[in-house]
Symmetry: C2
Subunit: 456 residues, 2 copies
């Protein structure tokens, strides 16, 4: 047994039937030419035969029942592969819609703590002949970014490589460990902030002072000033998951027209889509929605690369109707927040990020979300993914859509992955608070289309 | 909002991720001649359109989060039918095995308390063209027997009746209410025993005295004297579900040879199968396993029918190798237990049943199952089902297999339904404690076969 640090056990302690604390990834594949009707079944069988399992994928809480017992990890020697690797199928007519419905159901159920806390679902029956892999992993084992890296590591750049690698196979390639990118993940930042504990306390007033000064230039967004929306109430246990890809080129060329980054354009897309979505439900507040977004703070004059990451809060400019004005407002808000952070030391950045994220830490406290203003309205994470086409046993990866965690007060999470020449959006929401979530996909397209039209 | 009696709220309070408190039913259907590829899909659509919903199927706990809040029911006006009625499919090759795997997964996940607490899964993709309906209902709303009655009520004796009735449609036929048979259900008996509370306390010593006297004739089985087995440890959250039908005629003719009832033969089948199952795992105790089984106590000289039901504990004679000797020992044990009860008044019967069942009430107490001997080893319930062939929208009902509840200390539950000319067994177990549960099905067949051979 191994001691479990609070940064891991917090996800077990905070978990309840309304707040599952697992992350998911939905990967979509096109099988190679000549794949027969048994292709998917053979993949399931070959995955189950991969019985060499890394420590992480053999870990479960030593005492699954008690909260105090959750402080130790134990590693299972025998893995029940028939339990963990699941073969599934879509009902008629086998559209992406049926796939997303199934993923929504899976993402809304708790992982069993008596088994290592992960599941892999291989799905056949898409009408166009493709297949999917939905992987579900507990956040105490692996954060969202690491989970995506782990999935990516099992793929190959070689379409002819038929060495079917499983995500749980121990890493011997000497590649960077999967947890390398974890600091980009908001919940990891939250746990990092918690773990610095007392140290951060002394730093908070200093960085808060910096933030308040910056607030005076009106483009800096401070936490706990977000409007109340339907995105920010208590949540239920059921989920809606929707996903879609957009061409990276479209996003980049809109950005190039107004000097905005790819991240700015994506945030403006989300702002426009959320504006339309809330308008349709007659639930758009006058004040703009805000987003908490992890950003890279690396500057051109940095001598060593390093990993300067912070969590900023930015405006989504949902109070602005004009698409280009909205994009420019988002860009200004992001730049202002980055400017504040880039003048700080790495420890100060962590402390200010902790202040920005701190609202999340209160989510498990009953009633907290109903008496305070939201710290921000929605988390939008932009995760770097593969830069070249990838293959799995000869099957081409067509998309990878992250399904993250929603919380009381944060009923929506948008996570996107830049994947080769496209950007893959994975959107998870509380089923009860957020009706017709699939409308967001149409609104995202409309929002991008309007920016393209206005910029041309 | 309505006040929730303790007999209902106890199932919400006792529920945890390791102990889901829902009951399930798996129904298997053969579609009518000429049913097209869209047949199942059209059933799903027609079910979702049945928007008249009885109070029971609109009920959920008013405050789904707090334990204290679970004392009130609230009724939802708008039902999210896309959430409750789920269209699913089996992966290749679409055998009964794949159907049972899927059912096992569904039965191991918690119902969302933010929705009325039921789900219906319509499953296509069986290789033989049949389809299935798995229905999952929370025990606080409906016990297992009532759930089966509710499913049965939506069927018709007329193969040409294409009026697709949903289980949640309000009952206007004037038929007896579904809860009529509920007292045959062991968990309902347990809640009944709890609800009589103080009254029963005064009665217990008297009936315990009767039981102790009967114990002296050596064929009466008392609670808390069962051997420790792998069936009686703490459980995890994952489940295994297996199911099979046997011809009623085979069971009856074995019974006729030795003057045993259909229930005696079924218990002896289970005894023989559990003996073989535990022998294979090198886990058979010397002392015989015992079962808690609800029985009808109506005697021939009863003037009025009435519903005299008691919960007895009987030996499964797993210490006896010879199949006919085992059947005779089971019959004696059941008769002895019934004799004790039949001399009692209805209130005394309830009190003695409460004593027999009382072990279940301690299951939620942490550590209880590890320090005491089990009250009995396994619950086996025999539920009367339809006596004639039934149809649903022209589809013939081929089998109805109950999936009940397992608890700490009771990792296995066998529930059988007499259905027309067959007996349908539904067996649910804790996935972790009970490996290869599908072996039980083969052992049940062997056990019946051996009795037939010995009796011929």
């Amino acid at each position: 047994m191994n001691y479990m640090p609070i940064t891991e056990s917090m996800f077990l302690i905070a978990e309840s039937r309304e707040h599952p604390m697992h992350v998911g990834g939905l990967q979509l594949f096109t099988p190679p030419d000549g794949a027969g009707p048994d292709y998917v079944r053979s993949i399931v069988q070959r995955l189950r035969d991969q019985d060499e399992v890394s420590t992480r994928f053999r870990s479960r809480p030593a005492d699954p029942v008690g909260i105090l017992g959750n402080l130790w990890w134990t590693q299972d020697k025998d893995i029940d592969f028939e339990y963990h690797v699941r073969h599934s199928a879509l009902p008629q007519p086998g559209r992406i819609r049926e796939l997303l419905q199934l993923t929504s159901r899976w993402h809304g159920t708790l992982l069993d703590r008596h088994h290592p806390m992960w599941e892999g679902h291989v799905v056949e029956g898409l009408e166009d002949g493709r297949f999917a892999l939905y992987t579900k992993m507990h956040h105490s084992l692996l954060d969202g970014v690491s989970a995506l890296k782990t999935l990516e590591r099992s793929l190959s750049t070689d379409p002819d490589n038929d060495d079917l690698r499983a995500p749980w196979t121990p890493n011997r390639s000497g590649k960077k460990r999967a947890s390398g990118g974890s600091s980009l993940n908001p919940l990891s930042l939250a746990s990092g902030a918690l773990s610095i504990g007392g140290d951060a306390l002394g730093l908070l007033p200093a960085s808060a002072k910096v933030a308040v000064q910056a607030f005076r230039d009106h483009s800096y967004t401070v936490p706990f000033e977000a409007p109340r929306t339907i995105l920010n109430g208590p949540i239920g246990g059921a989920r809606r998951f929707v996903a879609q890809s957009w061409e990276l080129e479209r996003i980049k060329s809109v950005g190039a027209k107004v000097g905005a980054t790819m991240n700015d354009v994506v945030l403006a897309m989300c702002g426009g889509a959320l504006r339309d979505y809330l308008l349709e439900l007659d639930a758009l507040p006058d004040q703009s929605l805000t987003t908490m977004v992890p950003v890279s703070l690396r500057r051109d004059d940095d001598e060593v690369g390093g990993n300067r990451v912070g969590a900023i809060i930015a405006s989504l400019a949902t109070d602005i109707e004009d698409p280009l004005d909205r994009l420019i407002a988002v860009r200004q808000s992001v730049q202002s927040a980055k400017r504040v952070m880039s003048d700080l030391s790495p420890t100060q950045i962590l402390a200010l990020s902790a202040l920005n994220i701190s609202g999340l830490a209160f989510s498990p406290i009953p009633g907290f979300v109903s008496v305070t203003r939201p710290p921000f309205n929605v988390i939008i994470s932009n995760v770097p993914g593969p830069r070249t086409p990838l293959y799995w046993n000869g099957s081409r990866l067509d998309g990878v859509y992250p399904a993250s965690i929603v919380l009381d007060g944060q009923a929506l999470n948008i996570t996107l992955v830049s994947n080769n020449d496209q950007v893959d959006f994975g959107i998870i929401g509380c089923r009860q608070s957020l009706p017709s979530l699939q409308r967001l996909i149409h609104h995202l397209e409309d929002s991008l289309g309007e920016m393209e039209k206005a910029a041309s």
